[in-house]
Symmetry: C2
Subunit: 388 residues, 2 copies
């Protein structure tokens, strides 16, 4: 989004690439920096910690470095693409089961590789309910992806010019492997400072993005946030949160007073021609947080039933059965049908009940929606369930 030249010339930033901050001394307002020129110290009036997060290995020893890839940034993707172009692997394993794993499965499969998923659980995309996970699993199988579920990986080693994925049932051999086991905040340099860490060792911040240390802010994937429904701290490494937080931290450092209220964990994903989306709490999370969840599922057309180009949309809603308040929603269906998760995210931000959802004046015309948009239909079904 910003080249080094633009940063320096257009924005007047004193950019130091290939300099690594290796220590922070909040009392002295000082940062220790390593570079090719050696160790130096930088002082600051305000400090913003924006160190991001890195893929982790889930404790799996990886020795086949040349044929094992982590996907965090463009350089990582380019390295994998180069490997595919030059080494011409016939097959690849994706180890993991989250958003990045699913996106990599699709990317590899459409590049013509025989693509295998190796995942220690039976449940893909585990921020989703099991029924949505099942839809994803079926789509993966239908697209020809080989599924090794409930398969723990003990190590990935180089053997005979292949990546040997070691499991309790024996080794699985692939020309390459992608590890997509989630990320951890890059907060190692904060561990011996007064700056407090929280969930998954992300930096604790308040709504103004201030850490526990004077004039030190944090933003993005390295920073903790608040779940808007439970009020509890959470670590959510998603782009919109990171970007907004950076903007808010910068504004506040410059004398503004903006807030980041928190997250619903809203997420959306393309997996071949299947769209999936989520916002708010799962049923289990609702239960753990003292709600009395009622969950229900509806299947409805994404457009008018007779209109070409639509498909079936599965909606799973979780509500508090005491007052009908919406707590979470998940969707799976046609790619152009699942962005309506945003209506649920907006409803959650306003603590809406099913009654209020049903009353919404949502847009209808056959090329866009059935007469009763799936949101309104779900609310109608839920209202009846609550009464019974």
């Amino acid at each position: 989004a910003l080249t080094p030249r633009q940063a320096i010339q257009d924005r007047g930033i004193d950019l130091k690439l290939n300099h690594e901050a290796t220590g922070i001394q909040p009392a002295e307002k000082r940062v220790i920096v390593q570079s090719a020129a050696g160790t130096s110290e930088e002082t600051y009036d305000y400090l913003l910690i924006a160190t991001g997060a890195s893929p982790h290995t889930g404790g799996i020893p990886v020795s086949a470095k040349e044929r094992v890839f982590f996907i965090k940034n463009l350089d990582d993707a380019a390295a994998l693409q180069t490997f595919i172009d030059e080494a011409k692997p016939r097959n690849c394993a994706v180890i993991g089961g989250g958003y990045i794993a699913l996106e990599m499965l699709e990317a590899l499969q459409v590049r013509g590789l025989s693509t295998h998923l190796v995942h220690r659980r039976s449940h893909l995309a585990r921020t989703f309910e099991p029924e949505i996970s099942e839809i994803i699993t079926q789509k993966a199988a239908r697209m020809g992806i080989k599924l090794n579920l409930n398969t723990a990986v003990e190590a990935v080693a180089e053997k005979n010019g292949q990546a040997a994925v070691q499991t309790p049932a024996g080794d699985l051999f692939f020309d390459c492997a992608v590890l997509a086991l989630g990320v951890k905040p890059n907060t190692g340099i904060l561990k011996n400072t007064s700056i407090k860490l929280g969930v998954k060792e992300a930096v604790q911040v308040n709504r103004y993005m201030q850490t526990s240390a004077h004039n030190i802010y944090a933003a993005g994937d390295c920073a903790e946030t608040t779940n808007l429904i439970t009020g509890k701290p959470a670590h959510v490494a998603l782009a919109l949160k990171a970007n907004k937080e950076g903007s808010i931290a910068g504004t506040n450092i410059c004398g503004g007073r903006e807030q980041f209220p928190g997250t619903l964990g809203t997420a959306i994903l393309k997996f071949f021609d299947l769209g999936i989306a989520r916002t708010g709490l799962t049923k289990d999370e609702a239960k753990e947080n003292g709600f009395e969840p009622l969950q229900f599922k509806i299947s409805s057309h994404s457009k008018a039933g007779y209109y070409p180009g639509g498909g079936l949309l599965t909606s799973i809603l979780t509500v508090d059965q005491r007052d009908g308040r919406l707590l979470g929603a998940q969707l799976a269906g046609p790619l152009d049908g699942v962005k309506r998760i945003d209506v649920y995210a907006t409803a959650l931000a306003n603590r809406m009940t099913l009654e209020q959802l049903y009353d919404l004046d949502l847009a209808y015309a056959p090329p866009f929606s059935p007469l009763y948009d799936p949101v309104i239909l779900a609310a109608r079904v839920g209202k009846k369930l609550l009464r019974s």
Copy 2:
């Protein structure tokens, strides 16, 4: 949705087709009915007026009946299709400029007719702001539709086997014409009763769909409703309102207590590959209703800019500059981008401000949205404008 056989056999309804209610006597709880068998009287415990609305002629005398069509129901559409198949017209005029006029322009043009719009204003789809109207006009021209704007129609007469559309500038000749000048509630039989009529002579109802007369309800296109933002009575002939009202009236007649709170006039339309959508007030409506509207426009990608298949989405927001409250939103852009009008409709139902809109946790992934969804981007732009 329901055949006569289903109504009678499955639901036990005493269905009387080809019977016309010609009078209502609320004091006597009686309806006067005309049929082939003559005049009869029916008594009732509860009466539901669900007479709908009919296309009107806008005071234009129409004598070329055989080649002039109104479009209200499936039979009307079938009659026009039959005419096209049998008389093989080469060209057609659409007279009007609203949703039905636009849909008919597309339907006729894709059937290969040379299609002409004749409209007395310069502004198409006048529930939309002029800038959206301009986008529609440009799309119509690009699709080869001939535009006769600012052209009042004085009559449509049969001349030499054609429909002569008479205008102050002379006659325009077409093989057929569609009149799409809006609808009027079918409330003629209520005019000499105690049942109160309101806007456009639609039946006045309260939230329970009760008219001013004891045990008489009304629902659908014949019934007035309330604008949720202004609180004023309105006549909105849209399908979702009609359907919900019918359900609510039926529930209440049977002893329930459901309410229809009102409408935002949310609407969405496909016009070739252009989607347009609206909700809430226009700037002029906001001004007329005592708000202090600020209106602004943004243009943004509907998907990530680098992702294939997206397009530019125009968003026009109207807010109250005193408190930043959203009052209305309109969109024009790719077909799969404009259903996000529902986020605005949900925001309006919750009286959200731009600050709150900006804080929404909406779904992002490149196949679905830019990082800053157009809704969030619009809120960010609007927040800055309000501050300046």
